[in-house]
Amino acid sequence: MDGLIQLLYSVPVLGLLFQFVGYVIEIVPRIAPIILQNATPIALAALCGVMCERSGVVNIGIEGIMIAAAFVGWYVGVLVQPALGGDPSAFFGVTPALLVALGAALLAGMLISLLHAWLSITVRADQIISGTIINIAAFGLTGYLNTLISTTSPNGAGAFTRFRPPPEIADIPVVGWIAEMLLRQGPIAMSLIVIVIVFQVLLFRSRWGLRTRAVGEHPRAAETVGIDVIWVRYRNVVLAGALAALAGAYLSMEGTNSFQQGMTAGRGFIGLAAMIVGRWTPVGALGAALLFASARALGDSISFARPPGELGTLLGQLPGQFFDALPYLVTIIVLAGLIGRSIPPAADGQPYEREKAAA
């Protein structure tokens, strides 16, 4: 056995490959919780996209919804903190102010989505234009207000804290690190997995899911069986707004507890990409987000502790910028190499007119 491994190592390329796989297997379990954290906002953004586009509405305004929700969550926290106050509870450091802030963030996200729904469903404006409007407006307004407000550096309502699982959990053989990854999280990151599973099941097993898919594939057929296409789309788009808002709330209320102008840093668009790579399914979207986050975390940990052996020396010769680009390159390679063409819902992006010539 060892002989075999020695043999394999002796083959240069194969050896490197082996070392790399070994390195990944060794490192990933350790950084798993961080991977999930980095994946959370991206995955939630992607889920927002899935929910919209499965009903036939393209939404490239996710980034905008996120930044707006992040801002509202933080600023409402600032406003209500003095009134509600309260020390962080043991349970995820929840305070009344924090909950109010979270609620406000979700509400904001849903309101913005309502605008998108109105523009793209009722007004039948081009959905990409509508999304672009939301992006520009959201970045503009949050930047505008933040500039005015933060002259008096106010303190937010704090942030959700992470659950600390007992060390025994991590020590469970094989699956221990997975449990660790799922449990060593704040409430939003922890709920992500639940949201994905519920969403996936509902999408393919519930009436809501069936109608959503029908409306996204062939709205007229859906209407001829008495389904209110407009209503289904409105409902999905507005609901999806809450998901994007949750992603934004994660940034300003769990990932950190402060708001920074443009702190979404493109996560919404990367979520859009994750949705496509994940072929418009919740589980796929999560997978894509995790892949992306893993590549980033891996690149970072290589910069911390270069793996031993010629693999290490090889990686050492690469410019550091290569590791910055790694997650993006990996996404491209996986999409082009493994996933290939991913086909969107047939009616995606097409406004629906009730009275249209049957012919």
């Binding site: 933040n146 942030a159 990932g255 950190t256 443009g262 550091g320 910055d324």
Partner: protein, 367 residues
């Protein structure tokens, strides 16, 4: 004694106006600020440059200066030009990135005063034009008499922070996280930090990493990435028990990570216990540049005619750098911490303390 003498002078908060000139003074000088790309409210470099300008203006009784924020580097020149066209007398530009544009403007508008923060020493060619080959043949002081190129001795501030870190560390291992490897001041801070730490504990172990080598947004403007990077850093280096952030707002996330891991954090540029209250509970001190002080002082000197163009270097001797007050965390240090720091500070004033290796500003010394 938390607020030690050097720190008192520049607690970096807008409240404490330094030169308390009677505000009866009046001046109709027009003063304006151009920040680096991003925002004027970064609780950091841009903001305190602006604060300093406001203090300077207030001190001489001039109107409150406006601030403009370019959207990207192609707008540096036009943002400065907008002030010139509007008849401004003193234009403050914040950041190395605006160096070339400011120098050019100073060359084109000899009557206008320019204060270029973090732009010293100025580098011009024989015609007094910005020289990006960095041969620096021309003498800026004479060619551009109205161009004040501010610079700070970050390594001195870093040195003090390093001393504090080494003193507070029980494990003998400390860390520093830079926003990006492509930032001169960040590197000098860290080099000083290293020497300072070693001055306390010769075999201290310093782990240095940077969040990115490419992306300036991720490096200075993305606290979420900063936090998860900090988490991963601390997981990889469990012995680190004091963490120095040199990463702007991304670094705020690093401080969060430190607090959450139950270790100490050290802020940068300003007193971050005030500028980033979220992490005050674990921020034991900060490596500070006296941004506000330098700018406001220079404005005063321009008005009373004593200001000279050229390199305007702010180091310990001019209280250009300082360490941040310990606030409630003095207990983190040995009782004599403040005295040690003040002693070192005094040596710096005297110029008898080496705070940067000869290859100052060269990343390789940290790798």
């Amino acid at each position: 004694s938390s607020g030690a003498s050097p720190s008192a002078s520049a607690a970096g908060s807008s409240e404490s106006a330094p030169a308390s000139v009677p505000v009866t003074a009046h001046s109709d000088l027009k003063i304006g600020v151009v920040t680096d790309v991003g925002t004027a409210n970064d609780k950091n470099f841009n903001e305190y440059t602006y604060v300093g300008t406001k203090q300077g203006a207030a001190a001489i009784g001039a109107a409150e200066p406006p601030v403009t924020v370019p959207k990207d580097s192609s707008e540096f020149a036009s943002s400065i030009q907008a002030y010139v066209d509007d008849g401004y007398d003193i234009i403050v530009t914040a950041g190395f990135s605006l160096g070339v544009a400011t120098t050019q403007a100073a060359h084109d508008n000899p009557d206008v005063w320019f204060i270029g923060v973090d732009q010293g020493p100025p580098c011009v060619n024989a015609e007094g034009l910005p020289d990006t080959t960095f041969a620096c043949a021309g003498d800026a002081a004479t060619l551009l008499p109205h161009f004040v190129a501010l610079s700070y001795q970050e390594d001195q501030a870093g040195y003090l922070a390093g001393m504090a870190a080494a003193s507070a560390s029980k494990s003998g291992t400390i860390g520093a996280i830079l926003g990006i490897s492509l930032c001169g001041p960040c590197i000098r801070y860290t080099q000083g930090f290293k020497l300072g730490a070693e001055s306390i504990n010769p075999d201290i172990k310093l782990v240095v990493n940077w969040v990115t080598e490419s992306d300036f947004v991720k490096a200075f403007n993305d606290p979420v990435s900063g936090k998860s990077y900090g988490d991963q850093f601390l997981q990889q280096n469990p012995d680190v028990d004091v963490l120095f952030q040199v990463a702007g707002k991304t670094g705020n996330g690093v401080l969060d990570a430190a607090c959450e891991a139950g270790i100490y954090g050290i802020g940068v540029d300003v007193d971050q216990s005030l500028s980033y209250p979220n992490a005050a509970k674990c921020t034991i001190t900060s490596a500070m540049k006296s941004l506000a002080l330098a700018v406001s002082t220079d404005i005063g000197k321009i008005v009373d005619g004593s200001m000279k163009g050229g390199d305007d270097h702010w180091d310990a001797s001019r209280d250009g750098i300082a360490y941040g007050p310990f606030h409630d965390l003095a207990s983190a240090f040995p009782a004599n911490m403040a005295d040690l720091l003040d002693a070192a500070f005094a040596k710096m004033k005297a110029g008898t303390l080496v705070t940067c290796p000869e290859k100052c500003g060269d990343l390789s010394t940290l790798k």
